[in-house]
């Protein structure tokens, strides 16, 4: 996965809810439930529409005290998990 690739990523239509600022996502593929922290929850909201990785990383730096390089690393890391669980799709 590279930030230079013009990939856009969007969340799939899966059951989820947000309670106390934390998203709970149910994965029909693996039958697991995932509890996201505040920053991962923001990422989940961003992916309601198709986004590029650098768009999301930039948004993370706007919302949290984090530099762009760290934000990119974190976004890539969590997207890999989402892909494994069948929660997002690339366009």
């Amino acid at each position: 996965m590279s930030l230079n690739a013009p990939l856009r990523v969007q969340r799939k239509s899966v059951p989820w809810q947000e309670i106390d600022g934390q998203a709970i996502i149910l994965s029909p593929k693996t039958n697991k439930a995932h509890e996201l922290n505040a920053s991962a929850t923001l990422l989940w909201h961003l992916m309601e529409q198709a986004r590029t990785l650098d768009e999301m990383a930039k948004k993370m730096t706007d919302e949290f005290e984090i530099d762009l390089v760290s934000a990119c690393r974190d976004v890539e890391s969590i997207l890999e998990r989402f892909v494994e669980e069948g929660l997002v799709e690339y366009q």
Binding site: I19, L26, A33, V75
Partner: protein, 355 residues
């Protein structure tokens, strides 16, 4: 940034605890209609029809869904009567899918008789179908549903749903009609890898008619059933419940709620006192109303006739709704709940490890 991917049940258990303590309606049961294509002799619905001037439009069902979504509901249970007899069933299902609920449905399966219908349910976002099946014996099942041929159709629905990859669970209410044949059904479910939930609590009809309680299993039948269950599956031996008197009795109006076919918000399916119309009122207004708080705040210490819940434990699983229907007082331990507690106590001391 973190994603805490524990097992489904670990995360969900935490979520359930949070929902109870914060009174977030994590689970909502929607009675889409009182209409039904079966006439189950034990059903709590007194009149299998909807008042025409009170049923909700499609748009109002969408509004109800949106309010539940905003209130924190994740698990949506579509039920009836037979949920699929609501004229807007498919639109409601689609709307619920778009709102990202986890959707399950309690159904008799009679409207699911083709692959196309089962596929449409799958594509519509149905995650789980809980099928009411009362016996492996068609004669017993059909006698309980009062619809000849219903057993064949229900069994067909189970297969069609599973072919589409929809998770299927079996619900079985145990009455004096079917309890002695129940373990045939249990073995079939094990063989088919179908999770099953059984219940011995036959509820009075919601208009106060007590005729259904005559269908309850006798004490002798219950003793036989729990003994046989303990022999086959020792973990099923009823536990001694040791709970502080300050504990809540159940989850009514805390982590769960219900909506009747007319859009009225309830604390749960059993407790039928309306909090008001969810169509016209904000969810929070109803959810924090004096009526809702009255049910939410009931604790073990409020029960009448309970033998010191803090001392030594008990075997009583009290249901406010059932007690209200049966005795007029939700806090009174009914003879039926005491009978059941007595049977469980007997099994516990005869078969449990009580060291």
């Amino acid at each position: 940034m973190s994603i805490n991917s524990l097992t489904h049940y670990s995360v969900i258990d935490n979520l359930r605890m949070k929902s109870i303590h914060q009174a977030v309606p994590l689970q909502a049961s929607l009675e889409l209609t009182y209409r039904c294509n079966e006439r189950c002799t034990h059903c709590y619905i007194d009149n299998f029809s909807d008042a025409p001037n009170k049923t909700l439009s499609k748009e109002n069902w969408f509004l109800v869904l949106q309010k539940l979504r905003d209130a924190g509901t994740l698990y949506l249970i579509l039920m009836g009567g037979e949920a699929m007899l609501n004229p807007y069933f498919w639109e409601i299902l689609e709307c619920a899918r778009e709102m990202h609920f986890h959707i399950s449905m309690i159904t008799n399966g009679l409207k699911i008789q083709t692959s196309e219908t089962a596929k449409k349910l799958h594509d519509g976002g149905l995650h789980l179908a809980t099928i009411s099946l009362y016996s492996l014996d068609p004669l017993i099942h059909d006698e309980m549903t009062a619809v000849q041929g219903s057993h064949v159709k229900t069994m067909k629905a189970i297969e069609l749903l599973r072919e589409q990859g929809i998770e299927v669970h079996i619900n079985c209410l145990l009455t004096r009609q079917n309890i002695e044949h129940h373990f045939d059904l249990v073995e079939w479910c094990v063989q088919k890898k179908l999770p099953m939930k059984e219940d011995v609590s036959v509820t009075p009809k919601m208009n106060g008619d007590l005729s259904t309680v005559n269908l309850r299993a006798t004490e002798k039948q219950l003793l036989w059933y729990y003994t046989e269950k303990a022999r086959r599956w020792p973990p099923s031996i009823p536990p001694l419940l040791v709970e502080p008197a300050e504990d809540y009795v159940c989850n009514v109006a805390k982590g769960k709620c219900a909506v009747n076919p007319y859009g009225e918000l309830l604390g749960c399916i059993e407790v039928r006192e309306s909090f008001g119309s969810l169509v016209t009122e904000p969810f929070g207004t109803l959810w924090n109303s004096p009526t809702a708080l009255k049910w939410r705040n009931l604790r073990l210490k409020d029960l009448k006739g309970m033998k010191s819940p803090t001392l030594g434990g008990h075997f009583c699983e009290h249901c406010f709704g059932m007690a209200l229907h049966e005795s007029g007082d939700p806090l009174v331990l009914t003879p039926e709940s005491q009978k059941l507690a007595s049977v469980k106590e007997s099994i516990y001391y005869d078969h449990g490890n009580n060291d």
